[in-house]
Amino acid sequence: MPRNAVGREIPEEVGGKPLTPFQGAFATVPQGRKAAPPLKTIRPGEDKVLPSLEEAIRRVGLSDGMTISFHHSFRDGDLLVLRVVEACARMGIKDLRLFPTALFPCHEPLIRYIEEGVVTRIEGSMNGPVGAFVSRGGKLREPAVLRSHGGRWRAIECGEVHIDVAFIAAPTADTYGNANGMWGPNACGPISFSVPDSWYADHVVVVTDNLVPYPAIPAEIEQGYVDYVVTVDRVGDPGGIATGTLRITRSPTQLRIARLAADAVIAAGLVRDGMGFQAGAGGISLAATDFIAKEMARRGVKAAFAIGGVTMYLAEMLKEGLVGAILDGQAFDARAVEFLREHPRHVIITPGFYADYNSRGCATYMLDFAFLGGTEVDLEFNVNVNTHSDGQLLHGIGGHQDVASGAKVTVITIPTIRGRIPTIRESVTTVTTPGEVVDLIVTERGIAVNPRRPDLREDLRRAGLPVRTLEEMRAEAERLVGKAKRPVFGDEIVALIQWRDGTVIDVVRKVVGWE
């Protein structure tokens, strides 16, 4: 089996579809033209509002084998995916391909519909139980496909994934289909993940619980792309947005990592006027950002922009004048949603603006530094964000690949031990992001500098920061916890991990036993 540029065996085809192995972060030169949706028209006075999801499903002609898409802006509070799949099941539709941006633990009931053959393929991030279920193998007709935010946009745009029906949960919409997530009783922040779905799908259904008089503004989703508008009692639960670690950590170990990460980018001279940065919503990233914010305030430095996932911490930085603008693709807490309404320089961006490989500019390419996480890293600086060391597929890619590719300095923050499991491996279980786009790996035991960045090594050394090798830190952690048994993988491929350009950087195989 041929190996790709990070040494992973990639089959030439899966289920009759040829796979292109990953060649390098920027090796692919796109060819051809963009895909195109069908031409449609409407006459004045036509009514788009339908009484139920079932009616919309009938009108668009949703049938066996089709692809349906969703955004994940409600995160763990999403209600629409299950409602649509349940409706399809009731109507006898089967063999669906699900194309959400991401699934969360709240989607666990999907497992039943997979077992019943209603859903037979999934292309999208899977956080939690659905991913664990898929890992067990033999469940889906084809391997799941995981893409980054930018990668998903690209796949739609080039026609790699054709969406039959896009369902768009809209906290606010008008009868003509203009829609946004900023307003309404269940506002969730941007719903711009669905923008490419609205542009390219054959049929577009906006689902809302807050129908407002024309025009619903801003129109993140525009009327010209929308076929039908359906009202429901509740479109999603914003309480599910702020799940996981969206607070600054209190753990001494994590705070130490955050401190080192912040000190590293300060030592590299990146905290300066006009900088751009991205902070994830993990506890360590937030703490590192907080340390940076303090340093900025102390020195009177102002960032030009920050990219979200947006939390209240980032919102506060904008309010205090530490950040000139927030480019927001996703809200991570209620305060971020409020702030989007209040502040003119807190603006919504699409995944295309953010991260599309086949474009003439990504916001991530303007980043000076970014803090990202991972489940594992290895001695080649590769990062795994998808699987755990036991082989379970439990997380999506998010913007990881896109941000790492773009930022001048990509900082991975990771404790060397998580619940006894060592995170620095000789070789990661799954490569999500290749070492060639990773600059620093920061743990509680020190900072590893990618050998491609001797300049950074010098900056860190001069600042007296603890520069270590990954091998030293790996060995130290292993002395504490001992060697973990590794899973044995079979031949069956349960998921493909795409690089953002559409090539395959790794595959996830079914676990068949333990060494």
């Binding site: 001494p252 130490r256 401190r259 404790p415 031990i417 619940g419 006894r420 504490l480």
Partner: protein
């Protein structure tokens, strides 16, 4: 040893293990591991190996663990066995030492001493990474009475299996009449560098502790003198500080504990109210030629307040300060760092002393002033501290 009753030890907290044992005809081990199959075999080996070492031939053992390291599982098992059996002697046999450790110089850097609760596996899991000059594994105030035995085993296992690098490793025991002796018997097996004696009020206690240490060093084959750090935390202690400091050659540092002191005196926890106690402790330590370490700063959030207080402690003559959270270490080290002026002065004094020695002069002069021997020692100490902090010192000794 034989088990006579059912007993358990530990918790379901992260990085901890809950272990139960009960008498049985043969050995059986049941494991529920947070990490699934990844460490199950290894945990079984640890359990069976420990049972063998303790001479247990019949026991039903249950382990429920949340990512606990080997030494935590071993500690919880040992404590459960002790609670289930009658034989105390089996627990005093030396265990194999798993990390190399050497004694430390009497006058080494002790800018920061970090207190860590001795029975908290979650906090202890990363205790080796924070880089204070001294770590103090605590058996006293942070451990509830019912868990003292569990903490002893945990601290002992951590001492014998974790490599602390350049950090000096201490144990704060309970007062000698209230469990301190049992603490010593258990933890000395792990070979710490020193013992903190809480609520020290008289030289007699210190001498008594020194006697115990002498005996246990012999019994357990510890090749260095185990140091003593009396903690002065009462008015009586402050008054006796000069004698306490000189009570044993093992005493290397007097530490101040302000919490109990303020309560007993009925004063505020302000700089002014504590100034006399601080000054007394510094003077007593200086008179005995040992170090003094200031009390902890209780507000973890207030980095600047800590830094300011540490600066004042340094100005008063303290050599270090206590920390109750790892994030306090940096502020403390920053405060105790020599200033550029101090550094320049120290370099000059040391150079002058070396020059005088080369020329065979008895007296040393620097910038037209006579310099006494203690002043030279202080200058050398500043250079040593600067070097330890990675500051540019040059080749002055």
């Amino acid at each position: 040893m034989e088990l006579v009753r059912e007993a358990s030890c530990g918790s379901d907290e992260r990085s901890d293990a809950w272990v139960s044992v009960r008498p049985a005809d043969a050995i059986s081990v049941h494991i529920a591991s947070k990490t699934g199959p990844m460490y199950e075999d290894r945990i079984r080996e640890v359990v069976e190996g420990t049972l063998r070492a303790m001479g247990v031939t019949g026991a039903e053992v249950k382990v429920r663990e949340q990512g606990a390291y080997d030494h935590v599982i071993r500690a919880r098992l040992l404590c459960a066995l002790k609670r289930a059996g009658e034989d105390g002697e089996a627990f005093r046999r030396p265990m194999p030492i798993q990390v190399a450790r050497e004694g430390t110089p009497k006058g080494r850097l002790r800018r920061s001493r970090l207190y860590v609760p001795g029975n908290n596996a979650r906090v202890l899991a990363f205790v080796d990474v924070f880089g204070p000059d001294c770590v103090i594994l605590d058996l006293e105030d942070s451990v509830p009475p019912a868990e003292k035995d569990a903490a002893r085993f945990l601290v002992r296992e951590i001492l014998s299996s974790m490599d602390f690098g350049d950090t000096e490793i201490w144990v704060r025991i309970n007062p000698l009449p209230r469990g301190g002796r049992e603490d010593l018997e258990a933890v000395l097996l792990g070979r710490p560098h020193g013992i903190c004696l809480p609520k020290a009020e008289s030289p007699v206690e210190v001498a008594e502790l020194a006697g115990f240490l002498y005996e246990l060093e012999g019994r357990y084959g510890i090749p260095w003198l185990v140091w003593i750090m009396p903690i002065i935390e009462s008015p009586k202690g402050v008054l006796a500080a000069p004698e306490i400091a000189k009570a044993s050659e093992r005493v290397v540092c007097l530490a101040f504990g302000a919490e109990d002191y303020t309560a007993e005196v009925g004063c505020e926890r302000s700089w002014e109210a504590l100034l006399w106690a601080r000054s007394g402790i510094v003077a007593a330590a200086a008179a005995a030629g040992i170090q003094a370490s200031d009390t902890v700063y209780p507000d973890i959030e207030d980095e600047e307040g800590l830094y300011e207080e540490a600066k004042r402690a340094k100005a008063l003559g303290f050599d270090g300060k206590g920390a109750i959270h790892p994030l306090q270490i940096e502020s403390i080290h920053r405060a105790f760092a020599p200033t550029p002026e101090e550094l320049e002065w120290a370099k000059g004094v040391v150079a002058a002393a070396e020059e005088a020695e080369r020329k065979g002069h008895g007296a040393v002069a620097y910038r037209g002033k006579m310099v006494d021997r203690p002043v030279v020692a202080r200058a050398k100490r500043i250079l040593e501290m600067a070097r330890a902090m990675g500051m540019e010192v040059g080749d002055a000794a």
